[in-house]
């Protein structure tokens, strides 16, 4: 009878060990699975973070390039005013008018027509508008303003409006 109790006790102890081992094995496997899953998510997170960093670096490079371009363009926009100021400082218009008013008038009208067409072009319009006939017939529109005569002839009278430009 004692042997039977001893055998039952041993079987019970062995069963308990077996159950414990099975529980340990299952819980360990579950933990490993969770860790593997978390590891995959972390790897994905790291990839996303690296992609974000790369995107930010690309954006930074892009904005740096855009800023440099903007500064260059802003500087270029100063050119006309600087050039005009320099030209006016160099010239004495009063003396030029006393010496040869007609020549100065031609230069002024040529420069003015060129300026209007430049502004039209700056705002997206067609700069190749015909010049008014009174400007065409002027004897001299100035050495520096010859390019303003490229628009061809227009028979409009004094101070006529330029042709309406189409909306964009």
């Amino acid at each position: 009878m004692l042997k039977i109790y001893a055998a039952l006790l041993i079987v019970g102890i062995l069963g308990t060990f077996a159950y414990g081992a099975k529980y340990y094995y299952d819980s360990t496997q579950a933990t490993i699975a969770t860790l593997r899953e978390n590891n995959a998510k972390l790897e994905t997170a790291v990839e996303i973070s690296e992609a974000s960093i790369e995107m930010l670096q690309q954006d930074m490079a892009k904005f740096q390039e855009l800023n440099q371009q903007l500064q260059a363009d802003l500087q270029a926009a100063e050119a006309y005013g600087d050039e005009l100021q320099s030209k006016l400082n160099r010239l004495d218009l009063v003396q030029d008018a006393l010496r040869d008013a007609e020549k100065l008038e031609g230069k002024m009208n040529g420069a003015t027509a060129k300026l209007w067409r430049g502004i039209i072009e700056d705002t997206g319009g067609d700069p190749n508008r015909p010049l008014p006939n009174w400007l065409q017939s002027d004897s001299d529109t100035g050495a520096g303003d010859q390019s303003s005569n490229q628009g061809g002839e227009d028979n409009s009278a004094d101070s006529e409006p330029t042709q309406a430009s189409p909306a964009q």
Binding site: T44, I120, G124, L131, S156
Partner: protein
């Protein structure tokens, strides 16, 4: 991000400038009356003409610089840019 269309270009009128000195003033008045019927005009001193030209040049500079700034922002919000969406995935416990 969509960008809006630009305003229509300016429509500017040609302006005729007369340069007159004391020597040709009488001839100018006769010719002006023949051309316009009346002798009534706006006169500017050379200094004021220079100021007018410089004012217009500065307005042109302002328009151009505003345009460049608009172009900058248009490029910055270029719809072709690669926008990656970053999402968070909670870890298992």
């Amino acid at each position: 991000m969509p960008t809006v269309s630009r305003p229509k270009p300016v429509q500017l009128n040609d302006v005729r400038v007369y340069v007159v000195n004391e020597r040709i003033l009488d001839d100018f008045l006769l010719e002006f009356k023949e051309r316009h019927g009346e002798v009534a005009f706006v006169a500017l001193s050379m200094k004021d003409y220079e100021n007018l030209a410089l004012n217009i040049a500065d307005l042109r500079r302002y328009i151009n610089q505003q345009t460049q700034i608009i172009v900058y922002y248009e490029d910055a919000v270029d719809p072709n840019a690669d926008d990656t969406v970053v999402s968070e995935t909670p870890l298992e416990q």
